[in-house]
């Protein structure tokens, strides 16, 4: 087919393995949230009486999309490997970006804007919210910087090769 599909070039964002890793990062953080905070610690609640009805809808869509993304991420990775365009470092950078993006989304949109549920009940929320969102922001920043570094290094490697 076109060159582009077989030779994604130096931009990590054009790699299937990048987006596979990104989807898996989102799904992994969603799974950690569900397993650790909902089920094991039981800090979060299945349903919070303060939840507005419309938030239930957006949460339902997000949860369904997470489940889908979790599976599709794996298949994208397999597809990248089959096309011989698997770039492991790009996948990891995207994975960290996905982790951070979900954590920050959960902390800001789900907990604060939509008020689906809180990090923990019966405690002063401020330190919990701070730790939650700071962790998310840190992961997201790491992922983005990592991605940018990979792109720059790949570019300079290519220039070195062609010159």
């Amino acid at each position: 087919m076109s060159r582009a599909s077989n030779h994604p070039g130096t931009n990590p964002l054009r790699y299937r393995s990048y987006w596979g890793g990104f989807l898996l990062g989102i799904a992994m953080m969603a799974a950690i949230d569900e397993i650790v905070f909902h089920q094991i610690l039981a800090w979060h609640h299945f349903y919070d009486d303060a939840t507005p009805r419309i938030a239930l809808l957006s949460d339902g869509l997000l949860h369904a999309a997470e489940l889908f993304v979790f599976v599709f991420g794996f298949f994208l990775m397999l597809d990248a490997r089959r096309r011989r365009s698997f770039w492991a470092a790009a996948s990891w950078a995207a994975f960290v970006t996905g982790l951070g993006l979900f954590q920050l989304w959960d902390g800001v949109i789900d907990h604060k804007v939509l008020r689906l549920h809180q990090v923990r009940y019966g405690v002063d929320l401020l330190p919990y919210d701070f730790a939650w969102n700071a962790a998310g922001a840190l992961l997201l920043a790491t992922g983005i910087i990592w991605t940018a570094t990979l792109a720059r290094r790949a570019q300079s490697a290519q220039i070195a090769q062609t010159s």
Binding site: M1, N6, H7, G9, T10, F46, Y47, D49, T51, R53, L56, L57, D59, G60, L61, H63, A64, A65, L67, F68, V71, F72, F74, F75, L78, D79, R82, R83, R84, S85, F86, W87, A88, A89, A90, L150, R153, A154, Q155, A157, Q158, Q161
Partner: protein, 275 residues
């Protein structure tokens, strides 16, 4: 209970007809895969469990048992029945004329409408919303006939829905992956949101503790079945994409995909990239 055994007749008939067809196919030297037969038998058993037997009678008193029956009849049974590929078996086992009639029926406009993912999802998820948010649930718990009709709707709508998304049987005009994925996500959300609403506002006459247990069962049980459907849908995407890759490779007239595509060594990665 004795009279209810008459409800076993359709399930038994379905199992016997399917088994006869597989035996017929075996005798003709075209053995039918045994795992599909297992799916069919298990599927008819799951569907039957919603109509009679211990679970069906418990479902009248307990919301949790009702929810278990809903999952079994409306989600697990349809998935198993779809995986049994009954239409493929019928097309193979039937003689030419009836097989032709069946395939004409499958290509008819009416079949096209009911097997469209959006229509099937509305019938399926819309059906359960209607059940719990109208007096239908109350009526179903009091009137046996309504109960059976609701269960029958669950099986049929669940089958159409599952077949529209991941059908193995031939389906002319099956829409593409993106539409089916979107329908799957939206309908899964519709199921989950309804579960949370039932948690928040228990149905009249259902004690809160029971409503909570039933709603959580609906939410997580639904997730489990939909997870399997997602995997099967994505696996189909993977197979189809692979076929396209190979046909592109052969159309170009070069080596097969594996060797033609760039090797990882030519990738613009740097030293740390393969870590």
């Amino acid at each position: 209970m004795g009279a209810e055994l008459i409800l076993a007749v359709p399930a038994l008939a379905a199992a016997i007809v399917y088994l006869s067809a597989t035996v017929l196919e075996g005798r003709r030297g075209r053995p039918w895969p045994w795992h599909r037969t297992v799916c069919w038998i298990a599927g008819t058993m799951c569907a039957a469990a919603g109509f009679f037997g211990p679970l069906a009678s418990a479902a009248h008193d307990s919301f949790v048992a009702h929810m278990a029956a809903h999952l079994l009849v409306g989600m697990v049974a349809p998935l198993l029945l779809v995986l049994a590929a009954p239409v493929t078996l019928a097309l193979r086992a039937l003689s030419v004329d009836p097989a032709r009639r069946l395939s004409r029926l499958l290509r008819s406009p009416i079949a096209h409408v009911f097997t469209h993912p959006v229509v099937a999802a509305v019938l399926n998820v819309g059906g359960i919303w209607a059940l719990y948010l109208t007096p239908l649930y109350d009526l179903m718990q009091r009137d046996m006939l309504v109960h059976w009709l609701v269960m029958l709707h669950f099986v049929i709508a669940g089958y159409l829905y599952t077949a529209a998304l991941i059908g193995i049987d031939p389906a002319p005009h099956r829409p593409g992956f993106v539409l089916r994925a979107a329908v799957l996500v939206v309908s899964l959300a519709g199921h989950g949101v309804l579960a949370k609403l039932l948690y928040a506002d228990p149905l009249p006459g259902v004690p809160p503790a029971e409503a909570h247990a039933g709603a959580e069962l609906m939410f997580y049980g639904g997730d489990a079945v939909e997870f399997v459907i997602i995997v099967l849908l994505c696996a189909e995407w993977y197979r189809v994409t692979g076929r396209q890759l190979r046909s592109v490779a052969s159309a170009v007239g070069r080596q097969p995909t594996r060797t033609r595509l760039r090797s990882p060594r030519t990738r613009p990665s740097t030293k740390g990239a393969s870590a």
